[in-house]
Amino acid sequence: MTDVSSARWQRWLAEPQTRKGALITLLLVALALFGPWLAPHAPTDMLGQVYGAPSAAAPLGYDFLGHDVLSRLLSGGLSVLWMSVAAAAIALLVGSALGLLAGFSRRRLDQLITWLADVSLAFPDLILVLLIVSMLGRAPWLIVLTVAIAFTPGVIRLARGSAVAVAGQEFVEAAQMMGYSRRRILLREILPNILTPLLVHFGNMLTWGVGMLSGLSFLGYGVAPPTADWGLMINENQAGLLVQPWAVLAPAVLIGVFAYGTNILAEGIGRSSSRIGDKQP
């Protein structure tokens, strides 16, 4: 088992894209995690002029209330980070469990799960999240949960599809003939073999999650002010775009780089693992 996984790691890291993506993602994660300690001021301290220009004291200037943009930038990554990771992780766990269940149960249950996934895919992700958040409030755990709900159908369909494809192979038949329990077959034979597409999907979900969560904050439905948050910063400082562009530009660039890093990581893993290589769309 360890041999297989270390070989897998090596193959992933052999792809330059994976290394680049991992580096970018790790840098951004470190920035978000340790940023609050590095920040020179508290994110809610009003220190300078409204939309004050960058100076030696504040390299990125001041925002719409006179907060130090750099401090808010360093403190504002954590929410996007943990919320997108949590949402993607919940969707991955629930979705792959349901997808495996659908792929290996009798037709009725399979059809029911697939159909339910179909129904929820009719809701554009953002609309579903907006609907629930606007009705039930904007507690962070609720936002995480609704984003996870929006992501789950995609995982279900992916897990189901790849599990069904793997199930037809000889080693699964062999395991069945050896009389292994269904649970063992699912967890020990099939799950390891669909891990790669699921992981690629996880990376993609992180990218969409970052986009969706910062979009939610941007619309004003995410983290409540005065907490620092990259999406919220864009929203707050939009009016001063021409006077003090850094207050909008800096968080936007960080969101973009984070999304790019996770996406490159997913692409790299997908490319190094799939035999058809760059054929996949």
Binding site: W115, D118, V119, S120, L121, A122, F123, P124, D125, L126, I127, L130, L131, I132, S134, M135, L136, G154, R157, L158, G161, S162, A165, T196, P197, V200, H201, N204, T207, W208, V210, G211, S214, G215, F218, L219, G220, Y221, I234, Q238, L241, L242, P245, V248, L249, A252, I255, G256, A259, Y260, T262, N263, I264, A266, G270, S274, D278, K279, Q280, P281
Partner: protein
Amino acid sequence: MPEPTVANPSCSPPRTPAWLAWFIGRLGYGLLTAWVISLVVFIATQALPSDPARVILGPDAPLESILTLQRQLGLDRPILEQYLRWLGSALSGELGVSLDSNAPVADILFGRFGYTLALLAGVIALVVPVALLLGVSLALRRDSRVDRWSLSLLIFLKATPGFLLAIGLVLLFSMPHMDLLPAVSILDPDKSLLRQLQFLVLPVLALSLSALPYLTRMVRASMIEALESDYVVAARLRGIPEWRIVWRHTLPNALIPAIQGVALTLRTLIGGALLAEVIFSYPGIGTSLNSAIQMRDLPMIQAIVLLITLGVVLINLLADLLTVLLTPKLRTARRVTMIRRNRRGIQPWWRRSPSKAP
């Protein structure tokens, strides 16, 4: 479409084609999905919050006005009756009265829906031809330097959240000396949209940039797959010119998965359009939804979400129908089961590749 006549005397006279039976089944599936969607929208807006009237009026509202609103919205009746009444009026096109402006929701949404449709139509009209040309030309130059650079650029576009692209465009075009195009799309409602097309340019461009990567990569991938198939080798051996092979033999086959791709793109575009409309202050249903949520205008929220999701169901239905009609093997299938078994084209995207939407 008529079935091809077969020169076999024992063959029964032309009957209804199998795809019609398939389509009726598919239609039923779509209607069932639409019904469940109505249930979800109703539950999320009216049944799940313990008291929608309090959600609408806020925590400090006096009891009297809450009771009035409850009566006005019919919230004092049993939940099943509420649902049936709501569904009944929605089916007859009666979407309720907006709490914010006191005008019928249907009247408000009618014009705005048109604006959003124009936006989406603009994006599709721009993205589909560009994705087609770009995808085909990249597939023909596979693994060249141009191909690699373009792919990296597409990945960059794919990864960047759509609203950041929109903000970037606003930033660029609201700079001094850059007054080529208006950065904010405040339309004059008295003029026809055709006379103020300049307001459409930036929103369409922003959405197109985020929709382009997925479709281009899809066209490129299916072109590469088609170019490697046996019939292309056979055509080359027969001395058919390369351009003809590309445009007449391969492209039609490579396009069929792209139909589903366009449907999927539209679905993701609707979410993106909401953000883009807000950023550019474009008066479509996205901005309406945003302000309805902020005003807690319940009938408006219900109507817009219902409209959007039913739109997605309709788009999926049309995409499936188009796929069957454009695939000869499916179109002329004699039995419904053959369509089900053979629908490689309408095999959903998640079974074909491990990566999802843009």
